[in-house]
């Protein structure tokens, strides 16, 4: 009863019952909010049509090119720089025993500092501007990916490396043909964790040290009591988080399939 069997394919009616059941709560929440906000007339909580209108006014057209594009550019540069350097560094640390031992305490300590707490330090180093956003995103992504890749490399089976030795697969070929494919699953899970982290870091760093970008716009709206703009910003962040996550899931599947890994068929919720 409590364990729903997902292995057999359910009939069409069973499936539609389930979809209907799952959509009750979201629909109810939307309707309840709409009714509550339209009867309440609280400026803090605008009605849904007003919200949608504000969202369009804020982000379609000029707002998009002035704030959303710079934010996403910084996010893309910082995230990919951190990811690439993290994987390369992780492979180096994973292969070189001495280096891993020697850097372990320092890397471990940096990892426990919340990414946001590093913002003031980065402000001193980099000042206000694009380099701040890119720098702190790259930094916080780098260390998590570094550590998870290191563990993945250490966990590679000895037999695999022995086979490499026997067939004299060395250097670049070993890196691209053996080491990279072997660490893909762990790197992907690090990439997923750091993706949401980098959105968070992006927003907060823009709230502190930027004149443009999504975070800066939201904070400015909040400080000038422009509730429409503020809600538009909050909505955009939610949409951004959800769509980046969706894009990532699609990319993850494609990469796993093309490298011959098994894709979890059942949807997991963790």
């Amino acid at each position: 009863m409590s364990n729903f069997d997902l292995t057999h394919s359910p009939s069409l009616t069973a499936r539609s019952v389930r979809i209907l059941w799952a959509s009750i709560l979201p629909a109810a929440l939307l309707i309840a909010y709409q009714l509550w906000s339209s009867s309440n007339q609280d400026p803090f909580f605008p009605t849904i049509p007003v919200m949608v209108e504000d969202f369009r006014a804020a982000w379609i057209g000029e707002g998009f090119t002035q704030h959303v594009i710079p934010s996403l550019t910084n996010l893309a540069i910082g995230y990919s720089a951190g990811l690439i350097l993290g994987v390369l560094g992780g492979i180096a640390l994973g292969r070189i025993h001495f280096l891993r031992r020697a850097t372990e305490p320092v890397v471990g300590f940096i990892l426990t500092i919340p990414a946001i707490a590093l913002l003031p330090l980065f402000l001193i180093f980099l000042g206000i501007g694009q380099q701040l956003q890119v720098g702190i995103i790259a930094f916080s992504v780098f260390f998590i990916v570094l550590v998870m890749t290191t563990y993945a490399v250490v966990g590679i089976e000895g037999v695999l490396l022995d086979v490499c030795d026997i067939y004299r697969i060395r250097g670049l070929r070993r890196l691209t043909r053996v080491l990279f494919p072997a660490v893909i699953p762990q790197v992907l899970s690090a990439a997923r964790i750091t993706l949401s982290l980098s959105v968070l870091v992006m927003v907060v760093s823009e709230m502190i040290g930027a004149s443009q970008g999504i975070g800066a716009t939201i904070l400015l709206a909040q400080q000038s009591f422009d509730y429409g703009q503020m809600w538009a910003g909050m909505l955009l962040l939610a949409v951004l988080g959800i769509s980046l996550n969706l894009l990532f899931t699609i990319g993850e599947r494609t990469l796993l399939i093309s490298t011959g890994y098994e894709v979890p068929s059942r949807r997991r919720i963790s």
Binding site: S2, N3, A102, I110, P114, I124, V199, I269
Partner: protein, 254 residues
Amino acid sequence: MTLRLLQRFAVPLIGIFVIAALWEIASTQGWVSTDSVPTLHDTVSRTVNLLTSSEFYEYLLGTLQAWAVGLAWAVAVAIPLGIVFGLNYWAYAFIRVPLEAIRPVPPVVILPLALLVIGGGLRYQATLIFQGAFWPLLITVIYAIRSTDSVSLDTARSFRLGAWRTIAFVRLPAAAPLIGSGLRLAAATAFGVTLVTEILGGASGIGTQLMIAQSGGDATSVFAVTIIAGLVGLIISGAFGKIEKSFLSWRVAS
């Protein structure tokens, strides 16, 4: 034996020493400006000074209090709810769509609204920390309960253990390790959100100290407070690592 012991401790110590020496030399020799990178000995003495000053303690206590209150609420609500939703497929299917939608939303989304509606202070901090830690923890608990090994469930059924005893003696022990790691993550997330609320204003704590030092151009204090934030993070992850380990030992009992 001694060689292995030497390897185990000497190499990390060498690493720490080399990095510390590089830092000290770079800052004292003027390779980097001391305006942005203070010397190591200045940073260490400032850290010690702060940790022994009663004024700084108040800020530290403020941070820890907000963290503890927000996290405690999140744990107290997420674990029972997670167990309920994990046990019943239809209940889980009912909340699944909003849950999946909220998961990737960054926890600072509601910060501007909370600051306006609640104002600053502990309640504002606790609210943000709560919602930052609650959702991931809830999802982990649901997943942990749902992923109980079906063989042990069947065994419980053939022993006619009954619903309550199955939950208490089979499902919870089996879910404990995952819940333990969920708790550790929630504690770390809560600490991060605590600092966000302080850095962006609205509450006072070590995050405020960071911003004051930064706007005053006091690089030494920024480094010192950042190190203290790291130490607090270390203590938190150490303590919750212990809890996670004790939860892990339940697995043997199950």
